[in-house]
Subunit: 216 residues, 4 copies
Amino acid sequence: MLHKHQSHNTMTYPTDFYDAAQQLIAAGRFIDSKAWVPATSGNFSLRLADGTIAITVSGKHKGRLQTSDIMLIDAEGRSLDGKKPSAETLLHTSLYQHFPDIHAVLHPHPLNSVLISKCYQQRCILENYELLKAFPGIQTHESQLIVPIFANDQNIARLANLVNSYLASVEVCHGYIIEGHGLYAWGQTLNDALRHLEAFDFLFACELQLKGMKPL
Amino acid sequence: MLHKHQSHNTMTYPTDFYDAAQQLIAAGRFIDSKAWVPATSGNFSLRLADGTIAITVSGKHKGRLQTSDIMLIDAEGRSLDGKKPSAETLLHTSLYQHFPDIHAVLHPHPLNSVLISKCYQQRCILENYELLKAFPGIQTHESQLIVPIFANDQNIARLANLVNSYLASVEVCHGYIIEGHGLYAWGQTLNDALRHLEAFDFLFACELQLKGMKPL
Amino acid sequence: MLHKHQSHNTMTYPTDFYDAAQQLIAAGRFIDSKAWVPATSGNFSLRLADGTIAITVSGKHKGRLQTSDIMLIDAEGRSLDGKKPSAETLLHTSLYQHFPDIHAVLHPHPLNSVLISKCYQQRCILENYELLKAFPGIQTHESQLIVPIFANDQNIARLANLVNSYLASVEVCHGYIIEGHGLYAWGQTLNDALRHLEAFDFLFACELQLKGMKPL
Amino acid sequence: MLHKHQSHNTMTYPTDFYDAAQQLIAAGRFIDSKAWVPATSGNFSLRLADGTIAITVSGKHKGRLQTSDIMLIDAEGRSLDGKKPSAETLLHTSLYQHFPDIHAVLHPHPLNSVLISKCYQQRCILENYELLKAFPGIQTHESQLIVPIFANDQNIARLANLVNSYLASVEVCHGYIIEGHGLYAWGQTLNDALRHLEAFDFLFACELQLKGMKPL
């Protein structure tokens, strides 16, 4: 039983774990400064060089993370240091398996993402914005960025399957929304993933405000 | 008369009073950073180990509290250090009496709470939000959180009676709104109460913006 | 001519001028943090013990004031230190003449005040808000606070006359709006005037958002 | 080939380049604090005494610029230090050629500018705002400020020609919007250009919110 609930005092972490933890703490402060992780919502992860994953533990305020709030899991989402991973860990590991070149997954609960999920059915299509170029492979505002919206589900395995089926069916996906819940975005680096968060929030804000203005 | 208006220089506070005061000062700064206590509105309290209560005095800006702006009252709301408690003290002590396991009560005036109280009659029902899980006992977005709205009343004893009757009539309540006035929220710890404030504000913002979008 | 355009190097200021200047600088930083003085808009003043007035000079950003950006005028608005007072100085001196007990006048350009002036004719009536109690003499939310709205006018003497006539015709006034321009608020102390600014902005935000929601 | 991709270690910059770089870094922090440069959007420049131009390089976050993120170009937009200029450099150099007295050009992507471009055809006319006086040559709120809106175009030479034709056809222009993209503003000094940004954003916010309120 000791192995299963191994003390993290005696745990030997990969050498890049500590740097990853500091990066996640700083990212959490930035994301909280935007009010995108109200209460203790959200979770963030970074894939390390050896394929293990540094991820935030469950139930902490993401704007005030400490090193001990970051844990290590394997590629299947199993705890490697005895700490309790978030219920949504499977959504992170699925993304890392589907996209071999990404190293960061961010899941905040921005108001605009939640509102988009309440106003749109199944997907939100973003087009004719210069800021679309913030996403890899997009060279012109005359592009379409499709953001799928999945129904919320407390059964995370079932939700992960739904997401995986979608990802298998499309050529490109830069992020998705879970209805009434929040946004998943990712990137090759943490900075890329943060850039995508900023771009998504700006574009969703545009869409929402234009919806509100349409009757004029 | 000396006893009734005892100097607080000679007052002996419980040992956990000073820590509670520092916590309330920090909470005030956070709450003010969200613009939830405009002007000198709002009041906050913490129940101490001996059952007495540390509470903000009347008429101070809650974002710039000093230790001398925190006073001590007994469980019935009587001043124990000669300072003048807020007129709304009775609403704090009622909550502590009704919920034996809570230790923090926060009463800010967030714009969203006031707007909710102007748009809804008697209660606002929150459902289908992942963030509902920020409240104790809620395990799924498929839950209903009912927030009662009471008419404002300068007669605080009468208002407290109304609140008490409501609380006696329901199994669960995580917060209430006074119309055109503000929000009351609470928790087992100050951090719990702050988490509830963040969650309420996010959920009220969602509801208000969805109301504004409905005609589209 | 030396007397008229006296160098401020040789100027002897009242002893409370320097403290007033520091207070105005701090108030400017706070007011700018709320985005109430975009560009170089707005002006602020404090009446000193001898009846002279410390006031911001023309054309500076109010969020980054320096001591040299505060000048001294007499009760009629004449420069006492050779610096150039704002064109709107007369609106400050008029208020000090009308209200013998006030010592601070703040004139920011908050978005909400400008929007109120575009949505309402002649006056905005605020009622049924607990926050009305932030203003002196108001003991209950069941009060009416009338905020007059005056047409903008580059002829400040003419505008000051209009304001004076209004003030002479009413028993109570806590602030006024100039249409498409900004808000004038005041108080016995600078803290009182700042409290009124916060309260006005909150109340105007409520009114505007409720207007936006009415069709629902 | 060495000349074409000359190392910037051996580059001799004009003496005022380093001060310009620090000013652009500070301006970027301010502009980002307003959320006007989401992701890595936007670019800023300053014209130096010798007619060369310090400008931000492509692809950096404008709120976290470092000295090495500022490069030197000539008046025609050619790199003088081997660094890669933004694709939109030509829009900066065109403005410097058209307005001999300006020394700063700022191109952020503020949400309000993008929304204005989605709600208005060809131009937005601002009138009856006191804040119009933030722009040079405007003495009264009874003025009209016309902000042209150009269709977005990834062909920057073609877009620059369109802008040049417009500028040649009017007597006054203080800024323009590219549809779904962002704002271009300028000034004799960087402070002037920043003042114009603040004024534009306030005025656009007014217009947008008034549009949203019209049905009432």
